[in-house]
C-alpha cells in the first residue's frame, strides 16, 4: 500500500482567495457555479457535486472594540475519515478506500441511491443529476497516482492547505498549534485528531467546531450506531404484534362459512 496522505488546513493562514476552489474546478473539470448574489463573499455556498473545495467565511466576534467582527476563512473539503460514514452505508461498494487511504467514489459503480448523502455528517457529498451519481472530492486520485500534489494544495498561495504524509502533517499541526498558543491565540485547536477515527483532511481552527459547521467530537458518531437499537425495536414490535395476532385470531367456536 502507498503512503497514507492527508490535508492539513490551517484556517489562520487562509485569506479567502479561493485559488483552491478554482484549481479544483479546473483540474477536475467541474462546472461553474451559476452567478447568484448571496449577500456575502462566500458565493460558493456549500460543498456539493460541483464544489469539492469550499472556502467558508466564518464570522467571529472579537475582543477588539473597533473591530467587533472578524472573518475566519476555512477551505472546507471532504475529510476522508478513517471511519467513513459514507463508506459504511454504501450498498454497492462504490465507495472504496484507496491505496493512499483516501475515500473515493467509483463513478462507474455508483448507482445514485444517495444513502451516502444522508450519512455524511459534514454535508460533503452531492448528487449530480447529469451523471446520476454521488460525487465529492477525490483527493485528486489521478494526480496522486502520478506523484503529483492535489490541485488545491498546489494552488494555495499561503500554505493554508498543506499536503503530505499524514503522520508528518500531524506533527506539523501540533507545532503550529504550540506556536499559536504561545502567541496568545488560546482558542486555537486541532479538529480531526479523534473524530471518526482521525480525519485525513484535518483543520486548525480558532473557534468551536460547530462555528465551522463541523460536528463536535461527541457528535462525531457513525450511522451504524443505530443498527442495533433500530432492529431491536423492530423485533420487540414484531413479538408484540404476534401476541396481538394470537389474541385477535385465536380459534373460537368453529363456524362453517
Amino acid at each position: 500500500m502507498a503512503q497514507t496522505v492527508g490535508f492539513f488546513t490551517d484556517t489562520t493562514l487562509c485569506i479567502g482567495c479561493k485559488a483552491c476552489e478554482v484549481a479544483c474546478k479546473e483540474w477536475n473539470a467541474l462546472p461553474n457555479n451559476p452567478l447568484e448574489f448571496r449577500g456575502t463573499y462566500d458565493n460558493t455556498g456549500q460543498l456539493d457535486h460541483a464544489n469539492w473545495r469550499h472556502v467558508r467565511f466564518v464570522e467571529q466576534t472579537t475582543k477588539t472594540p473597533d473591530k467587533p467582527i472578524a472573518w475566519s476563512m476555512m477551505s472546507d473539503v471532504c475529510k476522508h475519515c478513517a471511519n467513513a460514514s459514507c463508506l459504511e452505508v454504501c450498498p454497492t461498494n462504490a465507495i472504496i478506500r484507496t491505496e493512499f487511504d483516501t475515500v473515493f467514489i467509483q463513478q462507474d459503480v455508483c448507482n445514485g441511491c444517495r444513502d451516502c448523502i444522508a450519512a455524511c455528517p459534514y454535508g460533503v457529498i452531492g448528487f449530480n443529476s447529469t451523471s446520476g451519481t454521488a460525487q465529492k472530492c477525490t483527493f485528486c486520485y489521478d494526480r496522486l497516482q502520478n506523484d503529483l500534489k492535489p490541485a488545491c494544495a498546489t494552488a494555495c498561495p499561503t500554505q493554508s492547505i498543506q499536503f503530505g504524509p499524514l503522520d508528518e502533517l500531524r506533527q506539523t499541526a501540533a507545532r503550529r498549534l504550540d506556536t499559536l498558543h504561545q502567541q496568545g491565540v488560546s482558542e486555537a485547536r486541532i479538529y480531526g485528531d479523534k473524530e471518526y477515527g482521525g480525519l485525513h483532511a484535518f483543520f486548525l481552527i480558532t473557534d468551536k467546531p460547530e462555528a465551522y459547521q463541523l460536528p463536535s467530537t461527541e457528535s462525531a458518531v457513525l450511522p451504524s450506531r443505530n443498527n442495533f437499537p433500530g432492529y431491536l425495536t423492530g423485533a420487540i414490535t414484531a413479538v408484540l404484534a404476534a401476541v396481538a395476532g394470537l389474541i385477535a385470531f385465536r380459534r373460537r367456536g368453529e363456524t362453517q362459512p
Partner: protein, 297 residues
C-alpha cells in the same frame, strides 16, 4: 440530546414514500395471512388467502419504485452484485444492502404463497397450483409461511431502520422508526384486507378478528409515535412545526377514528364500511410522508 450534524438531505421523495408504504403493507399482509392460518379457524382461511393475494402484487411494485428512484436505474443490480469482485454485494451493517436481500428473499416466499393462494382459491384450475394450495395447509406449508413471515416482519420494519442508520437529523436521533413502520404497516395491511373483503362473504367472516387485530396494531403505533416524539427532544419542532402539523392531524384521524369506531360497534355501523380502512391507509401514508419529508425540509 441529539447529535449535531451538518448533513444535506438525500432527496428521498415520492418514490421512496410509496415504496415504504407498499413494502409495509406487503410485509404486513404476509404476516397477517400467516397468523390467520396459524391461530385462526378454518373459516379464516379465506381472509388468509386474501392476505397472500395482496402481498405479492404490492411487493412487485417495490423494486420498480426503488429502481426509478436511483440516479442510474440501469445499475440497480449493483445492489446485489459487487461489480469489482463479481461476488454478492452484501453488507450486514448497511440496512439498504440488507433490505435489498431481504426484499429478494421475501419476494420468493411471497410469490410461492401467492401461487398457493391462487391454487387453493381455485382461481386458476391448474393442477400444479392446486397441489401448491394443498401444501398451504400442511406442516411444511406452515413452516414455509412462518419463515416467510419473519421476512415479512423484516421488510415492513427495515425501512425505518434504513432512515435511522444515517446522520440525518430526526431520522438518526430516534430508535423507534423500525418498530413504528412495522406497527403502521401491519395496521395498513389489516385495513387493506378489510377493504378487499367487502362483498366477499367467505373472507368477510374474519372481519371482526381483523378489526380487533387492527385495534392492537394501532395502539402499538400510537405508543411508538409518542416514543418517537419524545426521543427527538429539541428536534421535535422540526417534525411538528410549520405545515407538518396537518399531516400529523391526518395521522391522528387515521388512527384514533378507526380505533374508537372499532371499539364501539354502534358508532361503526353509522359510517360506510369502506371509510375506516381508507382512513387507516391514508394515515399510514401520511405517517411515512411526515417522517420522510419533514426531516429533509
Amino acid at each position: 440530546m441529539p447529535n449535531e450534524h451538518f448533513v444535506v438531505p438525500p432527496h428521498w421523495e415520492w418514490y421512496i414514500l410509496l415504496y415504504f408504504f407498499f413494502a409495509g403493507i406487503s410485509g404486513g399482509a404476509f404476516v397477517i395471512g400467516t397468523m390467520l392460518r396459524l391461530w385462526g379457524n378454518r373459516v379464516d382461511a379465506a381472509a388468509s388467502r386474501l392476505a397472500f393475494l395482496i402481498s405479492f402484487p404490492l411487493l412487485l411494485i417495490c423494486p420498480i419504485l426503488l429502481t426509478l428512484d436511483l440516479g442510474q436505474p440501469i445499475r440497480f443490480w449493483h445492489m446485489l452484485v459487487d461489480v469489482g469482485s463479481g461476488t454478492p454485494a452484501f453488507k450486514a451493517y448497511s440496512p439498504m444492502s440488507l433490505g435489498v436481500w431481504g426484499l429478494t428473499l421475501f419476494g420468493l416466499f411471497s410469490f410461492v404463497m401467492f401461487l398457493a393462494a391462487v391454487g387453493e382459491g381455485g382461481y386458476l384450475r391448474w393442477r400444479v397450483l392446486a397441489g401448491a394450495g394443498r401444501v398451504m395447509s400442511s406442516a411444511l406449508g406452515i413452516v414455509f409461511m412462518v419463515i416467510g413471515a419473519i421476512f415479512g416482519f423484516f421488510v415492513a420494519a427495515y425501512t425505518g431502520v434504513l432512515l435511522a442508520v444515517s446522520n440525518q437529523p430526526v431520522w438518526s436521533d430516534t430508535w423507534t422508526l423500525g418498530g413504528l413502520f412495522l406497527a403502521s404497516g401491519l395496521s395498513g395491511a389489516a385495513a387493506s384486507i378489510l377493504l378487499l373483503s367487502r362483498g366477499r362473504r367467505e373472507s368477510a367472516v374474519s372481519d371482526g378478528k381483523l378489526m380487533e387485530a387492527d385495534r392492537y396494531f394501532i395502539i402499538l403505533e400510537l405508543v411508538l409515535i409518542v416514543l418517537f416524539l419524545i426521543t427527538l427532544g429539541g428536534l421535535v419542532s422540526k417534525v411538528l412545526g410549520g405545515g407538518w402539523i396537518i399531516l400529523w392531524l391526518v395521522v391522528l384521524i387515521g388512527t384514533l377514528v378507526p380505533l374508537v369506531a372499532e371499539w364501539r360497534p354502534a358508532l361503526r355501523r353509522q359510517v360506510p364500511p369502506v371509510v375506516l380502512p381508507v382512513l387507516v391507509l391514508v394515515g399510514v401514508l401520511a405517517l411515512r410522508a411526515v417522517i420522510i419529508f419533514s426531516a429533509q425540509a
